[in-house]
Subunit: 302 residues, 4 copies
C-alpha cells in the first residue's frame, strides 16, 4: 500500500501513454493525472480520471436554458450566474476520480459524504501495511477551551514528546501483534477480518473516490473550512488545488460565492440594515443569543 518505487514507475508509465480522444479535455487536469501529491506523513492524493471541463458545465446549462443563453454571457459569466443562483445540476455534469491514501480516522469522517462512489482497500481480504499517521509536533494541539469540537494551543515540548512516544509505541506494538496473530508460521493464523480489529485509527488505508463537481464543492466547503479537523483539511486543500487547475472558472465562482461567502440570517440581515443606516446595534437589541451575536460580530464587527 505504500507509494513504492514500483508505484512511482507505474505512475510514470501511465503518464507516458497519451492517446487521442474526442472527449472534452482539460489541460490543467491532464497535468495532474497519476501524479501522487503527498499529504500528511504517508498519505497522498492522485487524480485517476476526470469527465468534463468548464465548457461542459456551460454546455449542459445551455441544454436547459436553450438559445437564450447563447448571446448574453460569456462562459465565465454564465458559470458565475449558475453558482450565484444555486443552479447545481450543470456542475453535476463533471466528475472526478481520485486515488487517496489516508488514515482511518480521516476516512471515517470522509465517508459521511454519501453522494460519491468508493472502492476501499479491504482488510478482510488483504493485509494492511505498517504505516501510521504520527502528527508533526506543531500539530499536536490541546483540547480547545471554548469549543468542544476543536483544538487550542500547541502542546509544550515535553507533553508533545510523551504523546509521540505513546502514538509511535502503540502503533508499532499493535502492528507487531497484528502480524503475530495472522502469521501461519507454526500456528493456524487468525483470519484477517478479525486481526484487523487490533489496529488503531491512525493506520493508513486507501480508496478510489469518485464524485461529481457539485458534491465535491460541498465536500470542499465543509472540509477546507477553518473549523474542519486539520488532518482532513489538508486533503481538501490538496484536492482544491487539483480542481482549480481542472475547472478554473467554476473554481473561481465557488471561491467567491461559497468558500469566501457568508450566510446571514433574517435577524442578521435586519441588524446589518440598521447598522448600514448608522444605528449602533448591540447584542441586547439584536434579537440574537450571545453565541450567535459573537459569531455575527466575528464576521462583521470591527
Amino acid at each position: 500500500m505504500p507509494l513504492s518505487n514500483a508505484d512511482r514507475l507505474e505512475s510514470e508509465a501511465l503518464r507516458g501513454a497519451a492517446q487521442p480522444t474526442l472527449r472534452a479535455v482539460s489541460p490543467g487536469a491532464e497535468g495532474h493525472l497519476y501524479v501522487p501529491h503527498p499529504v500528511l506523513d504517508h498519505g497522498m492524493v492522485r487524480l485517476i480520471d476526470y469527465m468534463g471541463d468548464d465548457a461542459a458545465i456551460v454546455q449542459a446549462a445551455r441544454v436547459s436554458y436553450g438559445r437564450g443563453t447563447k448571446s448574453v454571457q460569456d462562459d465565465a459569466g454564465l458559470i458565475r450566474y449558475l453558482m450565484r443562483h444555486w443552479h447545481s445540476t450543470p456542475f453535476e455534469m463533471c466528475e472526478i476520480k481520485l486515488h487517496v491514501k489516508l488514515p482511518v480516522f480521516v476516512a471515517r469522517q470522509w465517508i459521511r459524504h454519501r453522494t460519491a462512489n468508493v472502492n476501499e482497500y479491504s482488510a478482510r481480504y488483504s493485509i494492511l501495511d505498517r504505516e501510521f499517521y504520527i502528527p508533526a509536533p506543531e500539530h499536536l494541539a490541546a483540547q480547545s477551551k471554548v469549543n468542544n469540537q476543536g483544538r487550542g494551543e500547541v502542546l509544550g515540548a515535553e507533553e508533545a514528546a510523551r504523546v509521540l512516544d505513546i502514538l509511535k509505541g502503540d502503533a508499532m506494538r499493535a502492528y507487531d501483534h497484528y502480524e503475530a496473530m495472522i502469521s501461519q508460521d507454526g500456528q493456524q493464523g487468525l483470519a484477517r477480518e478479525l486481526a484487523r480489529m487490533n489496529l488503531p485509527a491512525n493506520i493508513y488505508t486507501q480508496w478510489y473516490w469518485k464524485v461529481d463537481l457539485h458534491n465535491l464543492f460541498h465536500f470542499l466547503q465543509l472540509r477546507a473550512d477553518a473549523h474542519a479537523q486539520y488532518e482532513i483539511r489538508v486533503y481538501a486543500e490538496c484536492i482544491a488545488r487539483v480542481v482549480k487547475d481542472w475547472v478554473p472558472a467554476a473554481f473561481a465562482a465557488w471561491e467567491d460565492y461559497r468558500l469566501g461567502g457568508v450566510t446571514v440570517s433574517a435577524k442578521g440581515v435586519a441588524c446589518l440594515k440598521r447598522m448600514l443606516a448608522g444605528e449602533a446595534v448591540t447584542q441586547e437589541t439584536s434579537g440574537m443569543s450571545k453565541g450567535e451575536w459573537r459569531e455575527f460580530m466575528g464576521v462583521w464587527g470591527g
Copy 2:
C-alpha cells in the same frame, strides 16, 4: 430542439477534433461520441462523454482486494466474478453522459431512476419545438386482456387510422394554441411557464443524462426488459448497444448474469430440486399461488 443541419454540422465538427489525453480510452466508445442514434420518429441518443473502460473496473477492484487479485484471474474473469457476487462498487467507477431526445411521457418514466444527474430543456425558460411522437401503426396496440399494465394485439387498420387522426390532430392543434398564447403580436403573450401546460405528453423534450455503469445496468435491466413499455425499451436497447462497445467485458457479464438471468424464490428452488430428482410437481403441490406458478412454468416448463 430538432436535430437540425446545424446540429449535424456541430456533431461532425466535434468528431473532427481529437486531442491527446492520459486518461483511460475506450476505442468502442470513441466511435460513438457525438453521433446521434435515431430512436422513435424524432428522438435520439448521443454519447457526449464517458469515464473509464473495462480495465478501470478491474483497477478499482484491485484497490479493494489488493495483491490477491493480480495473479488469479484475467480481466474478463474478474469482471464476471464481480458481477456474479454482486460486488457493484467497481462498476460505479465508470460513468457515461448521454444527450437524449425523448417524448415527455417516456421522460416521466425515465426520471424515476433517481441515482443519475439530469439537465433538462426548460420550458419555463425556452420555447418547445413542434415535434410530437406519433406511433407507427404496428405499435398501436390494444390494452392487454391478461395484464393491466401492458399491450395486447395490434389494432385493426380502421381503428388505428382513427387513433392516428386523433393524435396528429390534437398535437397540431395544441401546438397552434401554444404558439397563439405565447405570441406577443398584438397582445401581451402568456408566460411560457403557463402556456406549456397545454402541450400533450407526446411532445419531445431533451436532456443530458449522466449515470454510473452500475446504475445504468439497473436501468437497462428494467427498461430493456420485455415488460417495459415499447417506447422506453427502444431507448434502453439503443443505449445497450453503446455500452456494449464501450465496456464489452462488463456488458457480456451483465447479459449473462442479469439480463438473461432468472431469480428463483426459495419455494421455486425447492420445486426445481424435486423436479431434478424426477418428481412431477404441480401447482397444487408447489406451495405457489396460481399466478406465481404460471410465471414459474413460463420459465421452466415444457
Copy 3:
C-alpha cells in the same frame, strides 16, 4: 382520483381511529393527519404519516455530541445552533409522508428533488380522471420582460378570456379523445399506456411522497421562494404550514436562517464592510458585474 365523498368519508373514518403508541408524537401533526388541504382548483396535500418531532432532532444530536449538549442549551437553542452551523444529519432523523394531488407539469418540477420516495398513480395501469388545472384569471400572467424564466403583468381581460377558452377547450377535447381511444365499445380499445400520451400537462396526477426533514427544508427553500413558479409555490406554502405545526422549533430556525437568510459572496462581504465603514460603494468600485450588483442592491440598497 378526485377527492370524492368516499374519500372524505375515508378521511373521517381514519381520523376517528386513534390507537396508543410509544413513539414520539407531535400534537400539531396529529391535527393534520388525513385532512385534505385544497391547493389550486382540484389539487390537495394530505399528511399520511410522520416520524419524529422537535425532541427527536435534539435526541439525535445528543447521540452525536454526547453529554456536552445536555446542560448547555435548551432544545430550541440547540436546534438553532444545528441549523446555523449546517449540522444537517439530526434533521434527517425526522420523516414525513404526504399524499399530493397535482398537475403533471408541477409534478415534473417536483420530481427533480431526487432524495425522496415516490409512489405515483400509474397511467399505464389505470385510467386518469377528467380533472385539469385551469388557472384563475388573476394568475394568467404575461412573459416577464426582464427575466426569461418568469411572469410579468397579469393579462388583460380579453386576452385572458381567449387563453381560458383555449385551455378549457383543448383539455376537454383531449380527454374526450382519450376516452374514445381506450373505449372497448365496438372496437379493440387502445392500450392505456399509449392513450395517455394525448393528455396535456395540466391534467392532475397524484402520488405519495416521503422525505426527511432536511431534504424537505431544501425543497421548501427552493419552491416556497418568490422565484418559484406560482403553481408549485402554493404546494410548498401549504406543506410549510403543516411542517410548522409538526416541528415548530425546527421550522422557526429554518425560517430565520434559510428562508429569510441571505448568502453574501466574498465580494459582497468586502463591499458591505466598506459600506459599514462609511464608504459609498458603486457598481464600478464593487468588483461585481451589473447583474450581480443589481441583485446585491436589491437586498442591501436603500
Copy 4:
C-alpha cells in the same frame, strides 16, 4: 455510552408513556420500542421509531395501481406480487430508526450502505468509553484456505488464548494511553480529535440509523448472508427479528424471494433446462468456469 442503569431506567420510562396517535400502528413493532437487544459482548440494537406497517405498503401500491388492485388480491398476496416483480417503491414507504452500539470495524462496513441517515457519536466532541469487542473463543477462526475473504476452522485453544491476551492487553493499554493523553491533570491535555487516533477498531461506537424498508431489506440480504462477517451478521439477524415483528407479510415475502432466493445466470438456466430434460451436464459441457460451476453445483447438485 454503555447501557447503564440510567439508560435502562430511561428505556423503561419511555415504554411507560403511551400516547394516542392516528398514524398506522404496528403492534409487533410497539413491543420492541426502546427495548435494548444485546448483540456481541457490549453491543445492542434498539428500535427508536418506525413509520408504516404492512398495510402502508399496500396503501402506497394502491395509489400507484389504482382501483385494479382493490378486488384481485388480499394484502399478503399483493405484497408477494410486489416483491416478486421488484416493485420496490411501496416498500420505501416504510421507515425505521434504530439505536445501535457496535465496534468501529463493524461500523466501517455498515456505513458503506449509503442510502440511510446516520448520527454517530462524535469522538471529536466527546470522550469514548472503555468498551472493546473481545471475541468469544468459539468465534476466533483461522484465515480460510479456499476463500481470501473469510474464516476457516476455529483456532486451537492455545493459539486462541494467545490471541485473546493480545486483544485484551492492547485494548486496555490503548485506552489507558488515550486517557493519559487527554488528561488535563498537570498538563494541557491533547485534543480529543487527535487522541482518538490511538484507539483500535474493536472499540465500541454508537449511532442512530434510519433507513427505509426497501434499503433495509437490501442491507439484510447482504449482511444476514452466510458470507457476511460474523460480527456484522449478528446485527443483521437481530434487526431481521425486529422487522419480522414490524411488517410480518413483507418479511415473509422477502424471506421467500430474496433471502432464500437464488439468481441463476443465462448459462445456468440453459444447464438447468438440459438437466430437467434428463441430460447429465458437466463443467466441461456447461460453458461455465470451474469456480462458477462449483458455485452452481453447490446449489443444484446432489
